[in-house]
């Protein structure tokens, strides 16, 4: 493993380069196929409305994958991620209007841990609303 950031250099409070992730219906269909999660709430508007959702919503795992991408972009070697977790607090609603939704991901180094790892605290927002809580990734730096 060889990360592009060293543990010795990194400082708590460092902001990671942010990420803007556009999501359209086609993005969700592609993600459904790649992940095997074909829950119709992610592609069938009638079904989503029937079960009480405002519209088709993005896979929570797509949002989480985007959050981890922020971290793996920063660290260089994605194999450095030893732990990652999120709570899905609000759905990312994806209207069929040709525009879709935009997920804004930011992150900050929250802690340097004694075992050569650092914890990144991640924020994911859609239309200004936080969609993930307690989103963290622990990465082992060289």
């Amino acid at each position: 493993m060889s990360t592009s950031i060293s543990w010795a250099e990194v400082e708590v409070g460092t902001e990671l380069p942010s990420l803007s992730v556009p999501v359209q219906r086609a993005t969700l269909v592609r993600y459904a196929g790649a992940s095997g999660d074909f829950n119709p709430i992610h592609w069938n508007q009638d079904f989503a409305l029937e079960v009480g959702l405002p519209d088709v919503i993005a896979h929570g795992m797509f949002t989480m994958a985007s959050a981890e991408r922020l971290v793996t972009n920063w660290v260089g070697d994605p194999g450095a991620v030893v732990d990652c977790g999120v709570r899905f607090t609000r759905p990312v609603v994806v209207p069929n209007d040709g525009v879709g939704a935009l997920i804004e991901i930011t992150g900050i180094v929250g802690a340097k841990l004694d075992d050569g790892t650092v914890r990144v605290d991640i924020t994911a927002k859609c239309e200004g609303v936080t969609v993930l809580a307690r989103a963290t990734a622990v990465v082992r730096l060289t």
């Binding site: 896979h59 070697d77 194999g79 990652c84």
Partner: protein, 151 residues
């Protein structure tokens, strides 16, 4: 419909071994919009010290989803899958998933509770190689929303 809270601790037979293919990793990485060379280019991954291309951290959901479907589809549990949303997810890695891995996933019900009419199921899926070496543990909370509840 309420879930059967007595099933805490129940483990399910492991899903058949999942063979991690290079093209599946590339397809998944493309679907999440990630062009990191470690997910696509064998020589780039090897330059980082990996045996082959590695998978994005959340790729483990594919393997754990297959195993955890035994839980959500367990008739004894009584979960209404049509009202299920994902509550929480965590992955704890011993090493990255790598193309060529043969992975065996075993799901266990870690916790069950009912909060404000929502059924909440915590599953733990231990993912190991066919040789028994730990690769990643996936912990998920799935929520079956009470009828009439907003998200």
């Amino acid at each position: 419909m309420a879930i059967n809270l007595e099933l805490v601790g129940k483990s399910y037979p492991p899903a058949p071994a999942y063979e991690v293919g290079r093209e599946k990793i590339r397809e998944f990485a493309t679907a999440i919009g990630d062009d990191n060379p470690a997910f696509h280019d064998v020589s780039a991954a090897q330059a980082l010290g990996h045996r082959d291309i590695i998978a994005p951290p959340t790729f483990a959901i594919i393997v754990s989803f297959l195993a955890a479907s035994a839980v959500v589809n367990d008739p004894d549990l009584g979960l209404d899958y049509s009202r299920v949303v994902h509550g929480e997810q965590r992955f704890t890695y011993s090493r990255p998933i790598t193309a060529g891995d043969q992975l065996v996933a075993t799901a266990t019900i870690e916790n069950l509770r009912i909060a404000a009419g929502n059924d909440m199921v915590t599953t733990r899926t231990d993912i190991v190689t066919t040789d028994g070496a730990h690769v990643v543990t996936a912990t998920a909370v799935i929520v079956s929303r009470a009828a009439g509840a907003d998200v």
